[in-house]
Structure formats: structure tokens, C-alpha cells
């Protein structure tokens, strides 16, 4: 079956959302759209069993002290990737607030947490204990690295499976 799904890439500024997808997706728009429009659209096709799922990736500008995600961009999404930078503790805090905001604006959606920059082990600010603690929220978590390509394809596969389950 051919399906199309909208998914969002969310996270604090500089967590590596765009780097994560850059090597793995088809794109026609430049990254300047992040600063102008607040979003950049990419495309990624994933095959899950007999389903060919085209993911329309809404790569949203990272949230920080001055910029907030536009809730309108979340409307109609089937799921999202929530990216955290392991080398910056504050991105974990931002991830919590973003996740709450998404639930408030569009309800519960399948999502996957990506603990990014996993290759920079010496710079980690988020401890293993904190990661273990995340289990209590029933979040699905994957460690990833844009530099090595670690778990990037897998992330799309896992999220797509979750979204197909939710249909």
C-alpha cells in the first residue's frame, strides 16, 4: 500500500535535526527557510513490509529562548522525532516542554526521542542515569549520530512502524 505521512522534526536549536536528515532525505529547499519561514520541507521514503510510506518531513526551526515553534506547523502530523543533544543538558529540558506543547496543541501522537551526537562521548552532559529515568515517561528512545549516520535510518523505520500501528 502506498501511504503518505507528515512528520515533524522537533528539538532545541542546534541539536542536529537538520544534520540528521541531510544525508538521508530528498530535498529541494535550502536551509535558509528555517530562518525565514521557520520550517523546511524534505521527503523520505520508507518501506515497512508491503507498505511504501512517503514521509513529508517538516523540519522545524529549533526552539530556544527567542524562537518558539509555530503550533500551526504541527497540525496534521502523524508523528514526530524529538531530538536531544547529549552534550547540552538544557536541550533535554526543552524536549520536555516541546513534548508537552505538542500534546496540548495536537494531542497524543507517536514519537521517537533521538539522543543525538552520540559520537561525542567525552562531552556528554546528560548522564546515563537521567536517560534511564526517561523510561518512566514511556518514551521510545534511540541514540543517534549525524556524523556516523548511527540509527538515522532506523529512527525513520521505528517511527513509521509506530505510526502505522496507530492507524
Amino acid at each position: 500500500m502506498l501511504l503518505q505521512k507528515k512528520i515533524c522534526m522537533l528539538g532545541a536549536t542546534g541539536v542536529g535535526k537538520t544534520s540528521l536528515v541531510r544525508r538521508f532525505v530528498q530535498s529541494i529547499y535550502s536551509e535558509k527557510y528555517h530562518t525565514t519561514l521557520g520550517v523546511k520541507i524534505d521527503k523520505k521514503t520508507v518501506n515497512i513490509e508491503e507498505n511504501e510510506v512517503t514521509l513529508l518531513l517538516w523540519d522545524l526551526q529549533g526552539e530556544d529562548g527567542t524562537f518558539k515553534i509555530r503550533p500551526a506547523f504541527l497540525r496534521g502530523a502523524s508523528g514526530y522525532l524529538l531530538v536531544i543533544d547529549l552534550t547540552r543538558h538544557e536541550t533535554l529540558v526543552t524536549a520536555f516542554s516541546i513534548q508537552k506543547m505538542v500534546e496540548r496543541e495536537v494531542g497524543k501522537l507517536p514519537f521517537l526521542v533521538l539522543l543525538n551526537k552520540n559520537d561525542l562521548t567525552e562531552d556528554f552532559e546528560i548522564t546515563d542515569e537521567e536517560i534511564v529515568d526517561l523510561a518512566q515517561y514511556d518514551w521510545k528512545i534511540l541514540r543517534s549520530s549525524a556524523k556516523d549516520g548511527e540509527n538515522v535510518e532506523e529512527a525513520f523505520q521505528v517511527l513509521t512502524k509506530e505510526m502505522l500501528k496507530a492507524i
Binding site: 503518505q4 521557520g38 520541507i41 497540525r75
Partner: protein, 449 residues
Amino acid sequence: MPSGTLQKETAEVSSENGENPQFYSKTEEILEKTNADALSEIRKILVQPEEVGEVLPSAFQKSSKSDKKLAEATLPIVEENIRQSVQRDPKILAEALFPVIGPAIRKAIAEALGAMVQSLNQTLEQSVSPKGLRWRIEAWQTGKPFGEIVMLNTLLYRVEQIFLIHKKTGILLQYAALDSEENKDADMVSAMLTAIQDFVHDSFNESEDATLDALRVRDLSVWVEHSPDAILAAVIRGNAPLTLRKTFIEAIERVQFQYENELDNFRGETKTFEPSKPILQECLQMQVGEEGKPKSKIFTPFNFLAGSLVLLFIIGGFFFVRDYRRWSNYLERLDSEPGIVVTETKRGFFRHEVEGLRDEMAVNPETLLAEYGYEPSNVKSNWKGYQDLSPQFVLERAKKILNPPPTAQLSLEDGVLIVRGTAENSWYLEARNIAKGMAGISKFKVVRE
């Protein structure tokens, strides 16, 4: 049947023994009676053929005026009726259509021939006119086919692409394009259009029902029409009339009507919307023609510059041709003048040059310049002296050098200088000596009278 009666009868039966077979037959009797009465009542109220017959025509009329929903709904029934009629007896439909088909065929042939003649006229016009030449240069410069350049230059508007977008998700449901090669990234474009729409909403705090109607970049514009669950975005090149919006609105309404459930329960299966493609293709309209182009376009800076250059070229050309003819005539005149031999000429932009040989007895070339519109300063002349040996010049030269008295006349016959009349002997002697040394004179002869 009044409900009070039914309750009373049911109560009577209930008071009897429930195991009794009489109970069941009585119950059935009551139910049958009840159903029959109730149905009769309903029929009386609702199914009066006369009343329905009165209401139906006006209902059809009103519905067809407001939208096409009734036509859409009854289409399958009408199609099936026609199919069955043809299956049963094709003659009936053929006879009914006969008065229509004949004129329709004649009209179609006339239109086809007319279009062919018009096309031929356009081709001839475009091939040989300056406009056609300009377009050929444009085609050569841009590397586009000539046909495409002609199309773009004569275009009023062209709906190039139609996107049918799911409003909530921004996912492309269906797509149609005028060119056979489809936009492979249409799904990303569709999502971006939705993002732009959301961005505008957020940025200007517009209400949900306020929608983005159009985007415009130079001669390319995107018109957007909305239904409750879908968006139709049309990419248009040129200046389209606002009446075109009606076409788009009707199209999106038809899609919304036909796919209401699918749009409402959309889960990403875009294949469901493939049958809607013909509706989108109906929106791919275009209009060509020079007449509708805004007149102000004639006075663009480019046209002004091009016009100035052409004018300059024409004026320059006029002066060039005029000067060319003057100079040629002047040289022809010099060639025809006795005692002048032109050996070299040079035609310059502002000043010409001429070189050659000139007998001192010949006409002065500079005195001829004015006849041809030149000032002496326009022509640099370089004449070297020589003696022309034609009889006319030899005689003239002899007269000038020998200076005969009025009583003596000189003539030249076959190189012989003949003196007639009378003169002093001393003159004869001196003249004989001089004449012997003159070019063109072989003998000196005196004829005394």
C-alpha cells in the same frame, strides 16, 4: 393506531399466562395490525405521488441553479438508463439524436477547417514577419524550441499545474500538469504551500477561516481555493481573468462533495483520490493571443532602447546609402572627364580620399565637389601632373604654348599641327621649333591662303 389502545391490549395479553400459545397468536395479531395502521398513516403523510410530483421539478430546478451536486448524484442513474435503453433498442436513441448529430458534425468540420486556416496564417505571419524573426533569435539565445517561444510571447495566461492538497496535513492528494513531464517534487511543493499558508495565518493573527488566496512572483502566480477539507492550488503563468476562480471553486467543491468521507478520514492513502484527476485537468486552461496584452508593455525600457537603436540604424543607413551614391557619382564623373585618371580611392567614415593623374588642361576636380554635396574639406585629393595626348589636349596645349596671332588658326589632323592664315615669319620659325618638341605632334605644317 393510538398508542393508548396498543398499551391496553398488550396489558390484557400480559395478564394471561405467558406459556399459553394463545398469547403468541394474540401478540402477532396486535403487531400486524399496528404495523399496517402505522404504515398507512406514514404513506398518507409522505408518499402522496401528486405532492411529490409537484415538489420534484422545482427541487431539481433549485438544486441545479445552486450547484452541481444533484447532477453528480443523478449521473450514474442517467448513465445506466441510457445504457439500458441502447441495449434494448439502439434505434430509439439514434433516432432521437439524429437531428443533433448532423449539424454537430458539420459544425465540427467547419471549425476544424477554420482552425487549420488560422494556424496556417499564424505560421506564415510568424515565419516571415520581424516579430517572427525576433522570436527565432530569442529561441536561439535561450535554447528553447521556437514553438515554445511563440507560445510564451502570445500567451495571455496558462494554468500550468494544479495541486489538490489535504488541508489538515498538507499532503498532496492529486496533481495535474499541462506539460507531460510531471513535477517530481510536487508533494514537497504542496507541503511548502501549506506551510506558507500557516505562516501567514500565524504572522498576521488572521482567523482560521481567513485564507491565503494568491501568491505572485513576476508573471507566475499561485491561486488558492479552499473547501472544508481540501485546498486547490493553481500555478498560473500570465494574467488570468478573475472569472477563472469560478472554475477552481467549482472543481474544489466537486472534489469535496465526491470525496467527503475520504477527506474526513484521510490516513495517508492518496491512491483513493486518483479518480479526481480529470476534475483537476479541467482546470488546466490557457488562452493565447496578442490582443489582450496590456498596451503599456510596448513602452518598456527594452523596447525603447531597441526602438532607438532601430531608428539610429535607419538614419545611419540613409546617410550611408546617400553618401555611397554621391561618392560613386563623383568618381564616375571624374572617370568621364578628359585629362583625369583616377588611380586610387578610399571611402572613409567622415572623409574620403582620391588619388590620380591630371592634365593641367583638364577641369579642376575640386570645382566638381560642390555638385555632389561635398565640401573640399570632405575629400582629400592628391593629383599628379601628366600630359594627356588626346588630340583635343594636344591642340589646346599647342595654342597655349605657341600663342598664335589672331590671323593664324591652329588645327590638328592625325598628329600634324596645321597653321592656316597669316603670321610673321619669325613666329612661324619659332613655332616650328617649339612644336617639334611637343608630345603628340609629329609634324608642323603651314597652309598659306
